[in-house]
Symmetry: C2
Subunit: 380 residues, 2 copies
């Protein structure tokens, strides 16, 4: 990046109260990483710098603040009672990957939570939003939401109602240079006015409606959905998330194939969440759930052992549909930059879309299981 551009970026960062020496230090330490997509230059914040959290994007047109982490509760009733004295909105928690959509220098860009431009999501966003009109009317808007569906690059799970490809589900709006989001009722008006598809909205609740909330959670669990997000009407109160038993089991099922290389907490945290959910929402521990839990933990790793015996490298296939062919190469470069090991299996034009099949190669799991199978010894 030229000296001139570098200074221009600092002019943006300065507004967040960051000293020039702090910014220079951050760039040198790679806490702020220079990136470029389709001619748009930006910095990706990889580690908190003053008020700029991880995941923040610095562009010439302003700061796109990181999407905030949402606090989790494991007991719905008491969590809600602790958190809210005012009414709160309830929405479905959609199981996909989180994005922020912006228009910078005339280009629509879809940023991942890690502040990368996702070429796949950027390619596809026009399928879901009247995107230029929204940004013409509200310059500086940031549309936050979830890409979700069986055919996506990042998330194996998906909501039951997206049967193929991906969908987009907005759930938040921010403005450039502002770290807070737009209040829920105003947000909903914009969603409705522009017919922006959103996560399912269950409306306003108060602490006295816990039984209504529990009913929603039960229905979401039965239909295979992830859970709920609760959003305050009173700005000082917290946003909270709460997930279903089924979501815990599905998380385990899709992650257990890589149990040897994953952080083990992934599994125990979900078992504890499951136990808390059953205790509060079901009162009784049914034997079926033992069988379900054992199956999602054991079968995937057992099947990968069987694959390793046959010398089949373990992989996870995913299909992506692109509107523009050039975005395929951009996606390949993006995955490489993110250190994903993968192969492109096939690429075909079908109707208006390029269908590209990828296979993520899970070499680490394969190699660990091979060692075990070959009779390697270890001291634990």
């Amino acid at each position: 990046m030229s000296k001139y551009l570098h200074m221009q970026m600092y002019d943006v960062v300065k507004q967040a109260g960051i000293a020039e020496s702090t910014w220079q230090g951050a760039v040198e330490n790679h806490d702020a990483v220079s990136e470029e997509f389709d001619g748009v230059r930006f910095f990706r914040i990889t580690k908190k710098i003053g008020t700029l959290g991880k995941g923040t994007v610095i562009t010439e047109e302003g700061i796109i603040f990181g999407f905030p982490s949402i606090a989790r509760i494991l007991h719905l009733e008491n969590g809600v009672r602790n958190a809210y004295t005012h009414p709160f909105y309830v929405e479905e928690k959609v199981d996909g990957y989180n994005v922020r959509i912006v228009r910078i220098q005339g280009r629509i860009l879809v940023f991942s939570r890690g502040a990368y431009v996702c070429p796949f999501s950027t390619d596809r966003i026009a399928d879901f939003l009247e995107i230029e009109k929204i940004f013409d009317d509200i310059p500086g808007l940031i549309v936050c939401g979830e890409f979700a569906g069986p055919d996506n690059p990042y998330n194996i799970e998906h909501p039951p109602y997206v049967k193929e490809d991906v969908g987009f589900f907005a759930f938040d709006l921010m403005m450039i240079n502002q770290s807070h989001n737009i209040p829920v009722d105003e947000r909903y008006k914009i969603f409705d006015h522009y017919r922006i598809p959103t996560a399912k909205r269950f409306g306003q609740f108060s602490v006295s409606d816990v039984s209504g909330l529990k009913k929603i959670v039960k229905e979401l669990d039965e239909s295979g959905c992830e859970g709920i997000v609760m959003k305050p009407t009173y700005p000082a109160e917290k946003t909270l998330k709460y997930v279903t038993l089924g979501s815990c089991l599905r998380d385990i099922n899709v992650t257990a194939p890589l149990m040897t290389e994953m952080a083990s907490e992934f599994f125990t945290h979900r078992i504890i969440r499951a136990a808390m959910f059953i205790h509060e929402q079901m009162q009784e521990l049914q034997p079926e759930v033992f069988s379900q839990l054992g199956k999602v933990l054991l079968r995937p790793i057992y099947e990968n052992i069987a694959k390793a015996v046959r010398n089949e490298v373990i992989d996870e296939k995913f299909l992506l549909r692109f509107r523009e062919e050039r975005n395929i190469q951009r996606m390949i470069e993006h995955l490489r930059k993110c250190k994903v090991k993968f192969e492109v299996i096939s690429k075909n034009k079908r109707g208006n879309y390029w269908h590209v099949m990828f296979a993520r190669k899970c070499y680490a799991t394969y190699e660990i299981l091979q060692k075990h199978l070959q009779g390697a010894t270890h001291v634990d």
Copy 2:
């Protein structure tokens, strides 16, 4: 410890090739901790110092080397093929706690793996061995074995054939000042001559006897035993351990009550071992095992949630039988020193033994579950 004693101890350590400055540094860093039991002074090695591994004990009469870690295999057939070109002995792996028994300054002491004197084991060892006679005949002998049974201070699991109290099962012999053990056939002669109770011995095997080994493992699994240890006849070859599916499931069952405070790897490692065992020993993944695995993971933590709801602090009770009353107080002090939180529930003389009931108090688990139940939020 007096300067004189300190120097006397260094004279012992010196024989292991440790420089005086290294020893002094280790003492200052608490890598060698000064201890005393029943008038016998010793150092407990808490961190490797040159050739002195963790768990080594330095006494005025010499060095009791740490009991070596045994390498684990997850595939029996290939593990054995890799490790052995010569015959090897097979013994039952007894699920208890590892001890080294010595006579120092005329006193019989039973050391734990962590190089503490265990007052309970020291109190009880005379029930199992003609201890004075053995040490009269073979001065400097170290008898290594397992205390195992339902009523012990450290290990919740126990072999199925010890129905109450504890038993002692020798499996190794070492000599003071020597880091290696006595060859297996010589060891067995001493065990037999002194009628020392031992872990079950299955005799000599060779790599061509894998089917015989598998049969033993199957029988041990069916009878609720932990597994096998394989010991080389050729000194350069390794000692190996291999555990049963049932042992993995029981390990999980007794540890899952404390899932919130345990290292999560405890659980995933055993799930992977279970999958490897099933793949090699059973060929087929039966649905019963899903239900068994789910139950041992979920039920204990669910039950502790229910206890926390009733404000019952979670505890683990254990009964210890002592021959001498003064060893009860010593055991209490030992547990305190090891930072175990516990209460003494009852103390009664029954026949020749003092029966003392302890309760280990699991405050950490209780407090974490209480927080979850109270609706605490966390960001993960």
